[in-house]
C-alpha cells in the first residue's frame, strides 16, 4: 500500500468515527506499522492545518478527530440553532482541581475552594466530565473522582499531560514550602481502585 492510499484510508475512517480514533487501533485495522500510520496521520493533520479551511484534524484524547475550525463557530451555531454554553466558575474551578489533583475526594475539592461543592460535582458527573474512580481507604471511605475521556475531548486535550503546567509560586519563601499541599489527606494515600472491566 502506498502512502497516499494509506492516508486516504485513514482519513475515511477518522471521518466516519463519532469518537477520536487512536493510531494504535487504526494501525491494527489497516494492518500497517504503527509509526507509519502515526506519521501519515500527522501529515494529514498538517495538510488540513495549512489549507486553513472549515475543518481541522485535531489530536484529542489520545486519538484523531475531524473538527470544525474555531473561527467558523458562528456559522455552525446558526446552522444548529444552538446557543453557546457556558461553564460556571464553580464548575471550572472544581474541574481544574479534579483534573490536576486526581484522584481527589469531594472533601479535597471543598477544602481547596473553601465552599461546598457537592452540587457542582454532581453536575460534572452528570455531564460525564468526571467519574468515580473508587473509594478512598480512610475513615468514611469517601468516593474519589477523576476526569473522563470526555473531559479530554471537550477541552481538546491530547492527554492529561497536555494540561498546562500550574503557575507555581516558587519565588515565595514561606516557613513551609508550597509543595506541602494543604490537603486534608495526601494524594498518595492508599486508594480503593475500582475493579477494571
Amino acid at each position: 500500500m502506498d502512502i497516499t492510499d494509506l492516508k486516504g484510508m485513514l482519513e475515511a475512517m477518522v471521518f466516519v468515527s463519532d469518537v477520536p480514533l487512536k493510531a494504535d487501533r487504526l494501525a491494527e485495522l489497516v494492518a500497517c506499522d504503527r509509526a507509519l500510520v502515526q506519521s501519515a496521520l500527522q501529515e494529514l493533520a498538517e495538510e488540513y492545518h495549512r489549507r486553513d479551511g472549515g475543518i481541522e484534524l485535531a489530536e484529542v484524547a489520545g486519538g484523531y478527530q475531524f473538527r470544525t475550525a474555531a473561527r467558523h463557530v458562528e456559522a455552525v451555531r446558526r446552522l444548529n440553532r444552538s446557543k453557546p454554553f457556558r461553564f460556571s466558575r464553580a464548575a471550572l474551578e472544581s474541574l481544574a482541581i479534579i483534573a490536576y489533583r486526581q484522584p481527589v475526594t469531594r472533601g479535597d475539592v471543598e477544602y481547596l475552594r473553601g465552599v461546598d461543592s457537592g452540587g457542582v460535582i454532581k453536575t460534572l458527573l452528570d455531564k460525564h466530565l468526571i467519574r468515580i474512580l473508587g473509594k478512598k481507604e480512610v475513615a468514611g471511605r469517601p468516593l474519589i473522582y477523576g476526569t473522563t475521556r470526555e473531559f479530554l475531548e471537550v477541552f481538546g486535550l491530547r492527554s492529561l499531560n497536555d494540561l498546562p503546567t500550574l503557575k507555581e509560586f516558587s519565588e515565595i519563601d514561606l516557613d513551609q514550602g508550597i509543595a506541602d499541599l494543604p490537603l486534608p489527606f495526601t494524594a498518595d494515600d492508599q486508594v480503593a481502585e475500582e475493579p477494571s472491566a
Binding site: D18, V76, R89, E93, G114, E153, P164, A197
Partner: protein, 256 residues
C-alpha cells in the same frame, strides 16, 4: 474604600479575600491582616443589613481572620517562646490562598480553550450506511460505578407516585394522545421536550409521558435517541392521517 461588593459574585471566601488583597495592592504572602479583616467584616456587615443571607463559609472565614488577628496582636506566651521559630499565624491562610489562586487561574485557562460543542464541533452521528448490526467484539470498558450512576438516574426520575397523581388531577390521557398525534401529523419527528409547554405542570408532564408510552405500546410511535445521553425523539410508525382517525377511548387505557 468602596465596599460596593456583591457576595454572589464571589465563588467563596477565598475568592473574596483574593479580591480584597488585590484591591489593596498587597502581596498574598504579606497580608496586612488588620486592614483586610476590617474590610471583610464591613462587607459581611453590609450584606447583613441588607437582609442578605451570608453563606456559612463566609462566616467561618471571618472567625479565622479574627483569630489570626488576635494571634498577631498578642505577645507570645512564655511556653511558645521556648519553641523556636513559631509559624506565622497567617501561613495556613496564605497557603490556601496561593493554592486557590492557582486553580482559579487554571479554571480560566480551561475556559479559554477551544471547547467541543462551544467553539468547535465534531460529527456526532453514525453515517447511515454504517448503521449495521454490530458484531460480538467485546465491550467498552464500563465500570461498576457507571452501573450505579445509571441506577441513580432511574431513581431520580422513577414514577413513584404516577398512578395516584393522575387519578387526582383528572388529566385526560386520551386528550394528550390526541395532542401528540396532532403535532406528529404536521411533522415527521418530534422532540420529547417539544411535547411540553414552557413551564408544564407536573401532572401535565406525567399525563403526556403516559400518553407517549401508550402510543409506543399501541405501536403508533417509536422513540429514538441519537446518542446515549441525547434527547428522545418521537417518530410515527404509520402514516399520521390514519392515526388521527383511530383515537383511543379514555376508558380503554386503564388509567382512572
Amino acid at each position: 474604600m468602596n465596599l460596593d461588593i456583591k457576595l454572589e459574585n464571589f465563588e467563596g471566601p477565598l475568592d473574596l479575600l483574593l479580591h480584597l488583597i488585590k484591591k489593596n495592592e498587597m502581596e498574598i504572602w504579606d497580608i496586612q491582616v488588620t486592614r483586610i479583616t476590617e474590610q471583610y467584616l464591613a462587607i459581611l456587615d453590609a450584606m447583613h443589613h441588607m437582609n442578605l443571607d451570608v453563606a456559612g463559609e463566609f462566616l467561618v472565614m471571618a472567625s479565622t481572620l479574627l483569630y489570626i488577628k488576635s494571634k498577631l496582636l498578642l505577645p507570645p506566651s512564655e511556653g511558645e517562646l521556648v519553641e523556636e521559630e513559631e509559624e506565622d499565624p497567617r501561613a495556613e491562610l496564605v497557603r490556601r490562598l496561593l493554592e486557590y489562586q492557582k486553580y482559579k487561574d487554571a479554571a480560566l485557562d480551561l475556559d479559554e480553550r477551544e471547547l467541543l460543542g462551544r467553539d468547535v464541533f465534531a460529527r456526532k452521528f453514525t453515517a447511515p450506511d454504517l448503521a449495521v448490526e454490530e458484531e460480538d467484539t467485546g465491550f467498552y470498558e464500563v465500570g461498576i460505578y457507571d452501573l450505579v450512576e445509571a441506577l441513580q438516574d432511574i431513581l431520580a426520575r422513577a414514577p413513584r407516585d404516577v398512578v395516584h397523581e393522575v387519578g387526582l388531577e383528572q388529566v385526560s390521557i386520551a386528550e394528550r394522545i390526541n395532542h401528540i398525534l396532532g403535532l406528529l401529523s404536521r411533522c415527521d419527528s418530534l422532540a420529547f421536550s417539544d411535547l411540553f409547554q414552557e413551564k408544564p405542570r407536573r401532572n401535565d408532564v406525567i399525563a403526556t409521558f403516559l400518553a407517549m408510552l401508550e402510543l409506543v405500546k399501541m405501536r403508533t410511535v417509536k422513540l429514538m435517541q441519537n446518542d446515549r445521553c441525547g434527547s428522545i425523539w418521537l417518530f410515527p410508525i404509520t402514516a399520521a392521517e390514519t392515526l388521527n382517525g383511530s383515537l383511543p377511548e379514555e376508558d380503554s387505557l386503564g388509567y382512572h
